[in-house]
């Protein structure tokens, strides 16, 4: 009986919260869009934005969740480890200096640079971490250093930039879904589709890592390999997402934390729940960014930070009070 009860509770944990955000997400998506009317607007303008919001939220939250586990630090996410800053620097080289890959069409040059810089930042991070014997603390410290270094270079570029370029750059660093295209959506969807199966396959190993590195090793988990592959997945996801929409903080941090409050840390449920909460948060943020000031599309990065933060605090405090 105890066993059946145990399985029942596990099943309950799995179906409840995971099913709920999905349906709400769909409602938010359709409700926001259908009212606006015509098919052209929906398909060419609104839907890419809405879908991209979902995918970006999912990608950032998933990478945040995996990063937090493999680096054993609840503050880890692409934003705090300098990935976003590096991407912004990449975008700046394209916008201000006009340095781009020669064989790429012009509309992709900013994204391509951002992607390369973000990926490069994470590669550098792993390399440096490996040289020093790669504990999580070392990686995090390097990440923070990288964040500041990229920020400093970005400031230099802003200093020398022309007024036009500066405006474009500032807009990019605020994070925006406005330039969404179906190609971008497809690219991110592909990367997500490629990464998620591997993430889910590693779910038990990631769960084991929550018992500490030694315990995970004694359970038979190759912790170094796990960390390496997970960071590779995270790099791809975060770099792709950030290169498409610019700097968006908070989702990679809050998505996993909300998911953890809902379903706990069994990664079979925690990872999907992070994906869903991330998607939901971004989707709501996207909707809000259109509604706060009627007629004006606020940069969605601002919305996630401004509106998301108080909500997040409230969730945490409420969680505390319940205990």
């Amino acid at each position: 009986m105890a066993l059946i009860a145990a399985l029942g509770v596990v099943l309950d944990l799995m179906t409840g919260p995971a099913g709920l955000p999905l349906s709400e997400t769909l409602r938010a998506l359709t409700g926001g869009e259908v009212a606006r009317g015509t098919a052209v607007i929906v398909w060419q303008v609104r839907l890419p934005v809405a879908v991209l919001a979902l995918l970006v939220g999912a990608a950032l939250a998933l990478s945040g969740a995996e990063m937090q586990t493999v680096l054993e630090n609840p503050l880890a996410e692409p934003f705090t480890l300098g990935v976003s800053a590096a991407a912004a620097l990449g975008a700046a080289t394209a916008i201000v200096l006009g340095l781009t890959l020669p064989w790429l069409p012009a509309q992709w040059s900013i994204s391509a640079n951002a992607f390369l810089f973000a990926l490069g930042a994470l590669a550098l991070l792993q390399l440096l971490g490996r040289l020093r014997g790669g504990g999580p603390e070392v990686l995090i410290l390097f990440g923070i250093a990288l964040n500041f270094a990229a920020g400093a270079f970005l400031s230099i570029l802003q200093f020398v930039a022309s007024a036009d370029a500066l405006q474009q750059l500032v807009f990019w660093t605020m994070g925006s879904l406005a330039s969404a295209t179906w190609q971008g959506v497809a690219a991110l969807a592909l990367v997500l589709a490629a990464c998620i199966p591997f993430s889910l396959r590693a779910a038990w190993q990631l769960t084991a890592l929550r018992m500490g590195e030694d315990q995970a090793r004694s359970f038979g988990v190759d912790v170094d390999a796990l960390r390496r592959w997970t960071l590779l997945r995270v790099s791809l996801l975060a770099a792709t997402a950030v290169s498409l929409v610019g700097v968006i903080g908070f989702v990679g941090l809050a998505g996993p934390h909300i998911a953890r409050m809902l379903v706990g840390e069994d990664h079979r449920f925690f990872l999907p729940a992070s994906i869903l909460t991330g998607a939901l948060v971004m989707s709501l943020a996207s909707t809000l960014s259109k509604m706060v000031v009627p007629g004006v599309l606020l940069p969605v990065g601002l919305v996630t930070s401004l509106i998301g933060l108080p909500v997040f605090f409230w969730l945490i405090l409420r969680g505390r009070a319940r205990r």
Binding site: W204, M211, G212, S218, F219, G220, V221
Partner: protein, 261 residues
């Protein structure tokens, strides 16, 4: 060749040697071995070396097979480790954490994993905690959970680092009795224990380490003598004989001038 052999094992942290060319008598299935010794004797480090969690020089073999060369997953099936403490702050549920101990390193346990994990919790008398988050358990309860994680893979060798440090008396007796039963099923049980009275009562063999070297080893009655306790630990102690050849250790106080070694 049926047991665990530790031969010429040396280990250093930076420039500081922790274990110096340590060779132990073979540890056999069915026996509970207690690693004893003062602080910084290298007890926990030796456990970590056996578990292949710390790099060392020398050879550690199980049934003649070098543990350092064994594939990770196979080794995980043979050796269970109970650390001093589980990290705090995980909201993982007890049952999930035990299933993770079973499934993280193996694809072969998938079907029976839940039942197997539950059976282990039952055996340890903590089945009622199955659905509790780890971060809401007491230190002692967490310690029982980490024992469950160590034995759920049904390992041949069980390594325990101060398994009773956070337990109340009843739980200590229960855990030590459980270790005897686990050894009785043909396992090699090695535990670091600080409480020599407990060690004297429950161990088949005591291995006394001192400054990274083997000081003495054998049944409690031959290793634990007042003279040795004075020299290694620097305490005045009485050793009393009980029934069934067992002994008990009573500590009276410090020796003037501390340990003499």
């Amino acid at each position: 060749m049926s047991g665990l052999r530790i031969e010429n094992v040396s280990l250093r942290y930076g420039a500081r040697p922790i274990l110096r060319d340590l060779t132990l008598p073979e540890l056999c299935p069915g026996e509970v071995t207690v690693l004893a010794g003062p602080n910084a004797a290298g007890k926990s480090t030796l456990l970590r070396a056996i578990a292949q969690l710390a790099p060392y020089r020398g050879r550690i073999t199980l049934e003649g097979e070098d543990l350092a060369r064994m594939p990770l997953r196979r080794r995980a099936r043979l050796i269970g480790v109970m650390p001093q403490a589980l990290p705090a702050g995980s909201s993982l549920v007890v049952l999930e954490s035990v299933i993770a101990a079973l499934r993280a390193g193996s694809d072969g346990f998938t079907r029976k994993a839940d039942a197997q994990a539950m059976a282990v919790l039952d055996r340890l008398g903590i089945a009622d905690l199955a659905m509790e988050p780890l971060d809401q358990l007491s230190g002692g309860q967490r310690q029982m959970v980490s024992l469950a994680q160590a034995i759920v893979r049904d390992p041949r060798v069980l390594l325990l680092d101060e398994p009773t440090s956070a337990l109340d008396l009843a739980r200590q007796v229960r855990l030590l009795g459980e270790l005897r039963a686990l050894a009785g099923e043909g396992r090699i049980v090695v535990a670091v224990l600080h409480d020599l009275a407990m060690a004297a009562q429950w161990a088949d063999r005591i291995v006394l380490l001192h400054r990274g070297e083997l000081h003495s080893s054998g049944p409690p009655a031959t290793v634990l003598t007042p003279d040795l306790l004075a020299r290694v630990y620097g305490v005045r102690a009485r050793v009393e004989r009980c029934s069934q050849g067992r002994i008990t250790v009573l500590i009276d106080g410090e020796v003037q001038g501390g340990p003499r070694l």
